[in-house]
């Protein structure tokens, strides 16, 4: 079997739990995304041999793996944390979604003039520690960045872009169905 080009680089990024997004500001990642796109079959077969499933979504790739079910609790914690983070960002801007761009300063300004946002920010776990508001807001972006859903586009301005991979979170959260009697109360 001939080894698809750039397998090593792709593996290094995806095996750490990162994504390869079409709209990444990093040129190398965009190139690798294109490589996955072009030679999806070859890449898939290759990685499958070593136990990783290359998953192709609309505008992004990631690795999936068979893992023990005991990790469900960890996954739950992660998703619950994103519910808070996504809600905060949606309160900040209704247009928050894939391709959305904003700076730490803009979020900090919005929080300063909006008590609801301030309250949300203060309640976030591990976010309230930093002393300044700016540092708190920067931490929100770092969380998204660490998860692979945002990328720093301009270091000087501290401007971030929401990557295509955010679509995963959106889809997952949308798939959570509230049981019938619960929705009945809200309608």
């Amino acid at each position: 079997m001939s080894l698809p080009k750039q397998s090593k680089e792709i593996f290094e990024i995806l095996s750490r739990g990162n994504f390869l997004c079409e709209n990444s500001p990093v040129r190398q990642e965009r190139d690798l995304y294109q490589s996955c796109e072009r030679e999806f079959g070859a890449h898939y077969d290759f990685f499958e041999h070593i136990g990783f499933y290359l998953i192709r979504e609309d505008g992004y790739f990631y690795f999936s793996k068979e893992l023990p079910q005991s990790q469900t609790e960890d996954k739950l914690h992660m998703i619950l944390e994103y519910i808070d983070l996504v809600e905060l960002m949606l309160q900040f801007s209704a247009t928050f979604g894939v391709g959305f761009r904003t700076t730490v300063r803009e979020l900090a300004d919005a929080v300063q003039s909006n008590v609801v946002l301030k309250d949300r920010l203060d309640r976030l776990k591990n976010i309230s520690k930093p002393q300044t508001l700016h540092a708190q807001c920067a931490k929100v972006f770092e969380k998204f960045k660490k998860g692979g859903f945002m990328a720093l586009e301009d270091e000087h301005e501290e401007r971030y872009i929401v990557l295509n991979s955010y679509h995963y979170i959106e889809t997952f959260l949308n798939a959570i169905k509230v049981s019938a009697n619960e929705t009945g109360e809200t309608l």
């Binding site: 739990g17 990631y62 469900t72 808070d84 949606l90 509230v178």
Partner: protein
Amino acid sequence: MITDINRLLTVLYSDRKLFESLFEKRNRLVSFHEVSNAIGEDKIEYLLNAEILSHTDDSVELDERILSFFEEFLETNEDIEIGDVDELLINLRYNIELYQNEKDNEHSRERYLGKIKRILKKVPNLILKNLSLLQLHIGLTYKTQSSHKNKILELQHYKAKLEKLMNIEVKVQKALLKESHFFSIVSSHETVLLSLRLKVRLRELRISLIELQKQVIEYINKTLHKQHFFEHIIKLKEMKSALEIKEKSNILSLLEMETTPLFMSKPQRVSTLLDTEEVYEFGFDEMVQKLQHVIPVGKSTVCKSEALDESFFEDDESVSYMIDTDALHEEFMKSNKDLFGFIDEKNFEVEQSLEEKVTLYCQLALMYENNYNFDETKREKKEQYEYLVITPKEINEPA
């Protein structure tokens, strides 16, 4: 009321500063007081009578006709006025009919033809103006309106306007088709050319209109989707806060996946200060060489011990002969001999050399000094050594 163009232009010119200011402030209320301060009450009264200004309650504004003229001419009107196009079509039909009915008077025919030409020029411009305004408003609303509900409301409003504009375009097409007879017999080459251009223009406009319609529908759908998503997230957050999400939703079954995306269970990685990637990326060698001068390196000096004797590594057991000095002392105390004579005559298990015997003599003399008598006057000789005669104290000591 002014009915003379010359008079109108003079009035507009003499108070042009006021009209300019009122035009700029057309979207807010300007108080009567504010205007009277600028030009005086008499002048206001005159302009109101001349119907150049109008006033409601306490505010003054430009007369609607003047305002529309300014806006239309300067293309600053941001409202979409689709009714105008409809009106033009009625006028087109009317003037064509007038033209066709007037068979004798060439002068009147020219007049009607002139009006027809103006309408033919105006129609595509009006559609284009409305189209570009709609495009602008739709884009702006989608990007800047922060409230989902208003965004959907506004987008739907523009969508309705757009559909009306598309309807107008169809009507114009039909009207042109209907009047094709007129255009085929009309003598004016210019009019025919205009009608042909209008047809081409309309085709272009239709393509843009359809594109814009697609876009606005997409925007509405996206906004609706986002609004639903936002409401959904708020619901999830409420359930999370009430610690009910596990029981009242299917989240746990969703998490039971056959394969888990790696980002959901990021492997625990050992973090070190030395990132191997950085080592390769940023020229590790240079960094080390720079830091070598900055960071003092404490040299640790290691003392080397002497080389071990080879016999140390021999496996054979070695037995060394040790003399029990205590036992020897006891024995000496019971003998009636001098110390050296005693050691010299003693039969040791291992033969002792004279030097060893001298050492033993010295050892015992030092160790049991208090039990011995040292006679300074008596010295004996043994080979090259001269020694002091040492005898035991106590009972054996001569009185």
